[in-house]
């Protein structure tokens, strides 16, 4: 003879199954929609940033330079503007045949390949950020210098408003330049540029 509890379960079995399925679908749907919307927004904003930079480059005549004001967005700090040219051995596959300017979630070739948007250019493209060593290392630069610069081959997007110098030089070089006195650590993952010697930093605690 069936117990009372068993009979109750049997009577409501269909309702319970439907309820469980609905809850699972609802939670899954919520998660999928929310995560898609969130990453969509970030990617869309990164893509728009690249489009704006690219169209600015296209509008510039050779020898011209302009300052472009760019609007930051949520989690912009995870994105980088990177330039790749056919002479770069580790360029992403999507930039194999032509120079390209990419906005990538990360500062490596792989991140550009997997999580990046790129625009092709017929000419050589450069990206550059310049930071003050003191903001990275802290302390004082040996020799009492106020500033000593570090250049890297990327531009890290910012969460607020920022200005990018865009220039098209004679011989069709396109260069992007960002100078910032803060958030310098984010570009340490990018490749060093130029031959500026690294200064000696005297840490704060070593000061008399």
């Amino acid at each position: 003879m069936k117990s009372k509890r068993g009979a109750l379960l049997e009577d409501n079995a269909l309702g319970i199954i439907i309820a469980i399925v609905c809850i699972v679908v609802l939670i899954g749907g919520f998660y999928v929609l929310a995560s898609r919307a969130f990453s969509n927004q970030e990617s869309k904003n990164a893509r728009k940033t690249l489009d704006l930079v690219s169209s600015t480059i296209e509008r510039l005549a050779e020898g011209q330079q302009t300052n472009l004001t760019l609007q930051g967005f949520s989690n912009a700090g995870a994105w980088y503007l990177l330039a790749w040219n056919p002479s770069d051995p580790d360029r992403p596959q999507k930039c194999f045949f032509e120079s390209c300017l990419c906005v990538c979630k990360g500062s490596t070739s792989q991140s550009c390949q997997d999580l990046g948007f790129c625009t092709n250019f017929q000419t050589t493209v450069f990206t550059k950020s310049k930071f003050n060593y003191r903001y990275i290392e802290g302390g004082t630069i040996d020799g009492g210098l106020e500033y000593a610069f570090l250049s890297r081959n990327c531009v890290n997007l910012r969460p607020n408003l920022y200005e990018l110098s865009v220039s098209k030089q004679q011989g069709s070089f396109i260069s992007l330049d960002l100078f910032s006195e803060s958030d310098a650590r984010s570009i340490l993952s990018c490749k060093p540029l130029g031959d500026e010697p690294a200064p000696t930093i005297i840490p704060e605690k070593a000061l008399p």
Partner: protein
Amino acid sequence: MSRGEISSTQVVIIVIALVGFLILLGFLRLAFGDSNQLSERETCRLSVLTRATAPTQAQSSIPLKCTTSKICLTSTGGSDSCPEFAGQSGVSVIKISGDDDAQAHAIEKISADALYDCWNMMGQGKLDLFGLAFQDFRVKESRCVICSRVALSENIGGEVRSKIDLNRYMRESLVPGTSLTYLETFADGLQSQTFTGVDQQTYLSQVDSLSSENKNDLLKTPQSNQLAFVFAQRKSPSGFGEGFLSGVEDASYAVIGTTLLVPGAKSQVFNPTAWLGAAAFVGGAGTWAGVSSWWDQSISAGYCGKFSSSVNKEEDRKGCSLVRAMPYSVESINQICQNLEGDL
């Protein structure tokens, strides 16, 4: 009733469950999906409400789907009238016509509406949009949404620009569909023409107390022929007051401080005795020099106090919001915005 047969009650329950499920899915799609069928304003308002009512830990996962409106005001109507928006999509070109007075009036209306829409879309500053989930290393940074950018094309002449008086317009004109002026609306419906403001002397004395470097930064003339209508919010455990200022750079102190630090302030529109807001649209004509920062604080509305929030701890619900018109320049906007949200 034989085994396996579904009763009428069960059928009703299943139908209700399915309908409820579909409604919920529809709501989620509206909140998170590509809701092209809604206007940008409605989409923004809905995302603001969704985020404000979400549990605090989930807030940062809910995007604010507020797209910065780009408005180009021109007297000729050409699509390339505003070089500020070159290469950007979604630019609304609005041709303003008529004599100088009519053109100035149109610019005043568009600006007042932009300020009001921004304030309204963001819950009039009373919703907690950037709850504890946005706290970074226990620092509560300010977060902003640029609701709109309005640029004046070069073909709008100096005569028109000199006639723009946004202060008067906001004091005298009614918000469409209401019986309140813009100023009364910002002041929470108070039937008064008198608004507590910060007089110019107070502001200048605050500026004087800054270091010369910060003072120079603050008084730098913005090189922009374009206004941004910005919503900003910052939460602090001690509410509006010293908590709002702690950790803010000196330059921000002067701007935010004098704009909002009015004793007993609840919701304010600042109505300085020497109104220089109208000069804002005379970008590049020289009238900005020296008064630009004062103008900065002129067109603004603020709310400080407890937010409607899912945060339990009362202290964590306090903060300040403001909406203001300011030059679209790095120097100006970064004075109050450490992080920007929304769609470009």
